[in-house]
Amino acid sequence: MLLPIAWCLCAMQSAAWAQPLGVEVPLNAWLMRVHQAARQSVYTGTFVVSAGGAMASARIWHVCDGSQQLERVESLSGTPRAIYRRNDQVVTFFPQSRIAIAEVRESLGLFPSLLKSSDSAIGDFYRLKVIGNDRIAGFDSDVFQLVPNDGLRYGYRVWSEKKAGLIIQLQTLGLDGKVLEQAAFSELQLDATVNVNKLSRMGNTDGYRVLRPDLQKTAADAQGWVLQKEVDGFKPMACYQRPAVSAAAGTVGGGQSTMQWTFSDGVATVSLFVEAYDRQRHVREGMTDMGGATHTLTHRIHDWWVTVVGEVPPATLHAFAQSLERKK
């Protein structure tokens, strides 16, 4: 009985996205759809990211088991590593160093509840337009464009598979419309039979030394920092204190702890890092192109050194750096 109803709902949903070109469509409903598709689909594929002239690829396995999301990402380029995810629990295995890093990514659990809540203001800062149809990785796709309403954020072009809405290609567009970054499935098998054994490694860290990043939750206010003026659309998400590594360890971070304050407009994210100013290490203030859509800005405020990182235009990072103030 449930099956025909589900089929009808699915057909209605699909029809709802068959819009004429150039027409604006409701953003939150669309975001909910692509989010649901990501949660409910079973797939395997090869995911390719290109940014700033560099390219990386990974093999992906994804299954959902009721409320559980299980995912395995195995790098095909760069440092060999396998990432296992169960909902917001993420374990990264580095086979060469026999180290496993276990973390909780709270941000993964934020959606879709944020989209449902009245707090979501994504629609105030982005519009969604229907661009057309395309064929990606063997799947017929709807192409949408997320158009920013101001110059403080980038636009996105999104290819979503027609039937369920799974995002199979995503481009980040610069203010001039040029592609800054692209992430896409080069090969995808939807509703594939995935051997759960492939994803059950998560709890098995035998032979690996397990590290858990020691992040202390804090509040920027409690650390003595405040944003004098909110940057349009960007809301504070979380604030953490990253403990110091001893100076003798020889890491470039030295012996200082660092505050990381994260902001999001619902699509783009910015991290504000604040650490004690070090005359030896902190020598260059200004903007740095990290390749792709990511920029960083370093800025000295009295005895502190601020680094702003985000997939946003330089003007946004400047706005954050100018707005950050030490409480009197």
Partner: protein, 204 residues
């Protein structure tokens, strides 16, 4: 004098081979500290030992042929235009211990130098990737491991087709931290998470 040198060299050789008693080692070490030539001899013996133990370190005929070909090709390379860095170059030159690539005078081994810069960047990225998940740890054992892969603290400026790009190990660490916690995006599942899991950084 020649006899004295050869006598010393023999003793240095014996020390490298581990054939000397500790008090004799102490004397030789004192001499190494005071005499640059003895220190050089000690270094030569160390290199000879390394090569004997690891044949892959010894240059072979094919290596030599490769270098000869490379030198011939470099000699035929056309001159490249001198590309100026952006406006804040002068500030950076004053204040930053930077390695500049593709700026200033064009030198005969420029291409080789370019590869060295790329290799340096690759090492930096590798180190930062290894360090990315580890830098938050206070565990002393982890600290020791990190110390063994201590990255160069120097900032490297590279010319890219779209302008100058700066590589700084500390920035790479903060980028990794941003990727770890910065996923507050409606496009996070699946695209954002997969993007960050797949893509570990630029510059490789």
């Amino acid at each position: 004098m020649g006899d004295l040198n050869s006598f010393s060299n023999e003793r240095i050789s014996a020390m490298v081979d581990g054939d000397l008693q500790s008090d004799e080692c102490g004397q030789i070490l004192d001499r190494l500290r005071e005499d640059a030539q003895s220190l050089e001899t000690w270094h030569v013996y160390q290199v000879v030992g390394d090569v004997l133990r690891s044949p892959e370190l010894a240059p072979t005929r094919s290596d030599m042929a490769f270098w000869e070909k490379l030198e011939q090709r470099l000699a035929l390379e056309p001159d490249r235009p001198n590309i100026a860095l952006n406006s804040d170059r002068s500030t950076m030159e004053k204040s930053t211990p930077v390695v500049m690539a593709n700026i200033g005078e064009i030198v005969a081994n420029e291409s080789v130098f370019h590869w060295k810069v790329l290799a340096g960047v690759a090492c930096t990225v590798l180190v930062s990737v290894v360090g990315s998940g580890l830098w938050t740890q206070t565990n002393s054992r982890i600290s020791q491991e990190l110390a063994s892969v201590k990255p160069a603290a120097a900032v490297v400026v590279m010319e890219t087709p779209v302008g100058s790009m700066l590589r700084d190990p500390r920035l790479d660490e903060l980028m990794a931290a941003h990727r770890q916690l910065g996923g507050h995006s409606a496009l996070q599942v699946p695209a954002g998470f997969l993007r960050n899991a797949t893509y570990e950084g630029t510059g490789r």
